[in-house]
Symmetry: C2
Subunit: 346 residues, 2 copies
């Protein structure tokens, strides 16, 4: 009588038997090769999962190696990214997790293919990957999903596939609150200078802005909506220059990020316009840079460090095989009133 030897460590052969395929086929799936029919792959993955199969290397890694999480960033030059990374690093320090950081620059796929990258992560026994505001394609994420490597994205530029866990902030509510703050001060001519146009978070902020205007019956003036920039300082400079060309300047500006707002601040100064006496200015992000400018920037704060922490926590849960409540975590934004907003000049 063949008893179920459930206490033995699972091998390729046992998994193969369970999935009703041969050992070589299981081997291919484990190694991420693509010459396996999707339906077969699914069956094998299920069997691997159920048996809790680990390759000899993984067994070894799991036993003695530290938990390593990879963090992928496009650039490390914005206060936003730095604060998110800080949240990740601080949480990691207390959780005995090591963080491998890589910057991709312009080309997210430079050097190594997504498949190669995913396979390497598997081989090295990495616990998972956090992608910060990068444009990771569906195909790239697919390579990870196929190998069951946990991935969490923070504020992705393109909306991630439904089954990828993502962390963000309440961008729509934040955009609405920022605009309501300006409206409450008495402003009726409010411009929006946005970041990357197609980015989810930018869209949400812009629509929050429009929702606030509409709710109060303030007409939306299309020439006050400046888009097509990035979330950086130079977009604020360019955006303000564009506003200067209009017949009438707005009395207040909502910038899609603190960096953009700082660009506006500097460019306004160059034209002899005072903030907030001549124009009110509110940013988004609540970074320390905005806090330290003169005047200090009123801003919609995102809990950036908290977002980094939440991403790592969620990733570690996935890595432990826990089932998550939700594939989307949105943390609350909050308007921080400092020195750059005031009632409009009489």
């Amino acid at each position: 009588m063949a008893t179920n030897t459930r206490h033995d460590k699972p091998t390729l052969a046992t998994v193969a038997r369970q999935a009703g395929v041969s050992a070589p086929t299981v081997s291919k799936v484990v190694n991420g090769r693509d010459d396996v029919a999707p339906e077969t792959r699914a069956r094998v993955l299920a069997a691997l999962e159920q048996a809790g199969y680990q390759s000899p290397l993984q067994r070894r890694s799991a036993a003695e190696a530290a938990t390593v999480v990879e963090v992928v960033i496009d650039f490390l030059d914005s206060a936003y990214t730095v604060e998110v990374l800080n949240g990740i690093l601080r949480f990691a320090a207390g959780a005995d997790v090591e963080i491998l950081v890589s910057v991709t620059g312009q080309a997210p796929s430079s050097g190594i293919s997504p498949e190669g990258r995913a396979q390497r992560m598997l081989d090295e026994g990495r616990a998972g990957m956090i992608v910060v505001t990068s444009a990771f394609s569906e195909a790239q994420l697919h390579a990870f999903r196929r190998r069951q490597i946990p991935v969490v994205v923070i504020d992705p530029l393109n909306p991630p596939p439904a089954d990828v866990v993502s962390v963000g902030a309440t961008n729509w509510a934040g955009g609405k609150a920022a605009t309501e703050h300006l409206l409450a001060l008495g402003h009726r001519h409010i411009a929006y200078i946005g970041g990357i146009e197609r980015a989810e978070c930018n869209q949400a902020r812009l629509h929050g802005y429009m929702a606030a205007l509409m709710a109060q019956g303030v007409p939306i003036e299309p020439h006050y909506i400046i888009s097509g920039g990035r979330f950086r300082r130079d977009s604020g400079v360019a955006g303000f220059k564009a506003l200067l060309k209009l017949e009438q300047l707005p009395t207040a500006i909502f910038a899609g990020s603190d960096s953009i707002a700082l660009g506006v601040l500097s460019e306004a100064g160059r034209h002899g316009l005072r903030i907030p006496e001549d124009i009110s200015l509110i940013g988004f992000d609540g970074t320390s840079q905005g806090q330290e400018s003169v005047p200090a920037l009123t801003s919609v704060a995102q809990p950036l460090e908290e977002m980094g922490r939440a991403a790592l926590r969620s990733l570690l849960r996935q890595a432990r095989g826990e089932v998550l409540d939700s594939h989307r975590v949105e943390l609350a934004t909050q308007v921080i009133v400092r020195g750059s907003t005031a009632p409009p000049a009489a």
Copy 2:
């Protein structure tokens, strides 16, 4: 004719042949079993050594495990650290090196002992460690040296042992150049607001400042030297407050870092003093933050990204066993004149 197949990777079988024993015997030696005669064991060990045998697991690690370098940072909250890290990450992206970042916070040795940390690095096959402006003790560095793990320190707070490679900038020359710039504008009452007092780089900047004054016969006024702070914004705020208490304000201020200078800038603004009309201000570091303030900050630029790159390059050389020209690399600083310095008011 049995040719020497030196290009094939050594296996248990080849080593066994070389040692004149069977494969199982070599297996026992490799696995540290004790049922092997001492004389046989010695012969096998010699053969293993000579063949450069690695177990499949070791081979796998060595072959495809990317080179991993650990970077240790105290805090990731200054523009200085961020730019150095950026230099490291960018160079790493092009050099197929992975970077493990850890922040130590207040306690550089929190959680794990230096010995434990070093041993773990060895076990995990890490190529080496870069320490950024942290206070690593001699004892800590010793743990690494003993295991022959390469270490490079960037601008250490305490001078590192002579045999540890360090990367920095020409701080003394930079301090002198900053002060000469102010002297050339006509200033004779120049204050220095320093960072961490005992830090090597702070000492060098201060002495550069004094050297420039002495060279031009301008008396050094001790109450114009503010020390005991850190390299952060609040030290600039506190330092400027201290200057305000003096009978006579200086006409120019040399700040030990851009962050300190930004604190001065904001505090001066709060007291209705204009930069550079009322007081000239020069910072140190040349960070992008200083570039973006209003007015833009005149500063002594350190090539921060370049320093990060140089540190990583030097580390990789050490890891490859190359002999370095020097244990100390100092990159040149340069005064960047922007909007915060001007001749003194008449």
